[in-house]
């Protein structure tokens, strides 16, 4: 059984303009110890998906489907049960580490807080744990940092503190929503290294949300490519990067500055023409259709199923229907396959 299994998750917001389908039936899995990437353009529903796993969506969001963590459906939990799950079994870190820490509380206080307030550990023991945790995330002078306020730390340090805070109760799953987007490049690399190291050491699974394909290539084992609330393609990093099949995934790859290739500046970066559709007025067929160079009449009418290409690799595009089997038909087989592959 997977650690995390999201099945047919739909998230709808009630807004003044009407119902907004932010996520329209996605399936995402993560095994223990796996780093799973979720990529896609701004507004495709990445953060909302993460917040639904944490049970932190605002009240006006309606959710359906299943979010299984170790077999328990998180969507079926009471708010109190969900609160107990947060921080212990799943944790989350955010995009703006500086803003994510409370400006008027010391780092030490914020680190020890869950230990003292929820687990009832004594102050001094909690402080020792906090120091050890800060050392684990390579914060130098850990003990002295405890009395610092967030504004006295750099963005990178704040993110390390956030990671320490998220992992202090050894959760099985860490959700990282754009953890490096707000940081500069060298710090980004250090934080990514740290995440990989922590995964290797503790076996915590990481759901890494980003719009940066470089980060995905660097860190992830498997990838989901999302577009307008749908998973368009999924596979392991090699399948997705070496052999992107969906026109959207393909476009994303082309729009990525390639680290390996000597970029002389002659070659202009590719960008996918057009803009993300308004979620309020979604086209009835494939949401990518208006921007797709290869779309046909069918694409405008009906959204295709995920089609299995090879083991673990699936794509939602009419181009591959018929030539390959529909994904939904052999989902169970595929899940079995994924487990055997581990």
């Amino acid at each position: 059984m997977s650690l995390l299994e999201i099945r047919d998750l739909m998230i709808t917001f009630q807004t003044q303009r009407g119902l907004l389908p932010a996520v329209s039936g996605i399936d995402i899995e993560a095994q223990a110890g796996e780093i799973v990437g979720v990529v896609g353009e701004s507004g495709c529903g990445k953060t909302v998906t993460a917040l639904s796993v944490m049970g932190l969506l605002p009240d006006r969001a309606r959710t359906s489907g299943e979010i299984l963590l170790d077999g328990t459906d998180l969507l079926g939990l009471t708010p109190e049960e969900m609160r107990r799950t947060r921080g212990t079994r799943i944790s989350m870190i955010f995009q703006e580490p500086m803003a994510a820490l409370n400006p008027v509380l010391t780092v030490g206080r914020q680190l020890t807080e869950p230990l003292v307030r929820i687990m009832g550990i004594g102050e001094s023991e909690a402080t020792e744990q906090a120091v050890r945790m800060l050392e684990t995330v390579h914060v130098s002078g850990a003990r002295e940092r405890l009395s610092a306020y967030p504004h006295q730390l750099s963005g990178g340090l704040c993110q390390r503190v956030m990671i320490a805070m998220a992992l202090i109760r050894q959760p099985r799953l860490l959700i990282a929503d754009e953890p490096t987007t707000a940081l500069d490049v060298t710090i980004q690399a250090q934080i990514l290294d740290l995440l990989r190291e922590l995964r290797d050491r503790t076996g915590t699974a990481i759901l890494l949300i980003t719009h940066d394909l470089g980060v995905v290539a660097e860190l992830c084992d498997r990838v989901y490519v999302m577009y307008a609330g749908h998973v368009m393609e999924q596979g392991n990093v090699y399948q997705i990067f070496d052999d992107p099949m969906h026109p959207y995934a393909y476009g994303l790859m082309r729009s990525m500055p390639e680290a390996g290739r000597a970029n002389t500046g002659r070659e202009e970066l590719y960008s996918i023409p057009g803009t993300v559709p308004d979620l309020m007025n979604m086209p009835s067929g494939c949401p990518f259709c208006p921007r797709c160079a290869e779309s046909g009449p069918l694409c405008r009418e009906i959204l295709p199923q995920l089609v299995r290409i090879s083991k673990g690799h699936a794509v939602r595009c009419w181009k591959y229907v018929g030539t390959h089997r529909a994904h939904d038909a052999d989902r169970t087989e595929e899940r079995e396959g994924a487990r055997v592959a581990r």
């Binding site: 944490m54 932190l56 609160r83 107990r84 799950t85 947060r86 921080g87 212990t88 944790s91 989350m92 955010f94 703006e96 803003a99 994510a100 820490l101 409370n102 400006p103 008027v104 509380l105 807080e113 869950p114 307030r117 929820i118 306020y149 504004h151 006295q152 956030m162 805070m165 998220a166």
Partner: protein, 308 residues
């Protein structure tokens, strides 16, 4: 920090001088003569002229003002025409009454204001929120004298439960504290509400929830600590203005405090006393602002950092 405070204290001197000048010259353009009012029945013009000379009231205003400033520099606020006692002594007798009223009103308004603000912010748009904010708005917008009269009528006249005037027992405090506290708590409640709502939208609240903290702790330990920063500032300014005397409340309820001194001084053209009460009030407001400033600095680590 100490340097900052000293600097602030010194910078109040020009403000005090400015305010005193304003009061002094305004009183001079107002028609009416303290001597004439003091001795309404005593209309021998020669005698009036003599008293005027004795009190140096025939000097030009500029001369009198400079004399007044000189006295103030020595801590001497002058002599009340009406009471025939030093102004500082008159203020010192009246102040305990104002102090009692102000502290009670402030405590009531803070406790009720913060509680109401938090209750509103926790469920914005709810019935409770609307009811509390309506109550606050009423308190803020209702004229004090009118609120006082209504409460006096209901509790004093109709129910006969509370005394309507005087200042002898705790019962005498209830109505004036209710009147002052209502308006002041309205301000605190509305500010607490908006400030807390703003704090609840911040990223660090999401972080606190992501840790699995109880909502009660998320609000009290994380949101409120940030939200109360501006509220504390308002509270310090509130208490200082309450301490400088509530003219209307003290008059309506017949409380012998600073506010009533001031209004009496105006009626009697008792210049030294009026100046004394106004300067006293100015000083308190400045002190209140200074305290608010320092409190803000100690409560908000970001500000402390900048100042050191």
């Amino acid at each position: 920090m100490i340097r900052y405070v000293l600097l602030k204290i010194f910078s109040t001197i020009p403000i005090l001088i400015g305010v005193s000048a304003l009061v002094f010259f305004l009183m001079n353009v107002v028609p009416g003569d303290p001597i004439a009012i003091m001795q309404r029945d005593f209309i021998d013009p020669d005698a009036l002229e003599r008293v005027r000379r004795e009190m140096h009231l025939d000097d030009p205003p500029m001369v009198r003002y400079v004399r007044f400033l000189k006295g103030m520099a020595h801590g001497d606020l002058g002599y009340s025409y009406k009471m025939r006692r030093p102004v500082s002594g008159v203020i010192a007798t009246a102040f305990p009454n104002t102090l009692k009223l102000a502290t009670c009103a402030a405590l009531v308004s803070w406790i009720i204001g913060i509680a109401a603000g938090v209750a509103s912010a926790v469920k914005p748009g709810s019935f409770l929120d609307n009811a509390l904010m309506g109550f606050s708005l009423t308190g803020i917008s209702m004229p004090t004298f009118w609120a006082a009269l209504v409460l006096q009528y209901i509790f004093g006249v109709l129910l006969g439960a509370l005394p309507v005037a005087g200042f002898d027992s705790w019962k005498h405090l209830v109505l004036p504290v209710a009147v002052l506290g209502w308006g002041q708590s309205g301000i605190v409640a509305r500010l607490t509400r908006s400030s807390l709502l703003d704090a609840m939208r911040r990223d660090y609240i999401r972080t606190a929830r992501a840790k699995g903290l109880r909502e009660r702790i998320v609000i009290s330990a994380h949101a409120l600590k940030n939200a109360l920063l501006p509220v504390v500032t308002i509270m310090a300014i509130q208490i200082s203005s309450l301490l400088s005397g509530s003219i209307v409340t003290e008059s309506v309820f017949g409380i012998p405090g600073i506010g009533r001194l001031a209004i009496g001084a105006i009626h009697n053209r008792d210049m030294p006393l009026l100046q004394g009460t106004v300067l006293f009030g100015t000083f308190l407001v400045i002190a209140g602002n200074l305290i608010a400033d320092m409190l803000y600095g100690t409560l908000d680590p970001r500000i402390r950092y900048v100042k050191d």
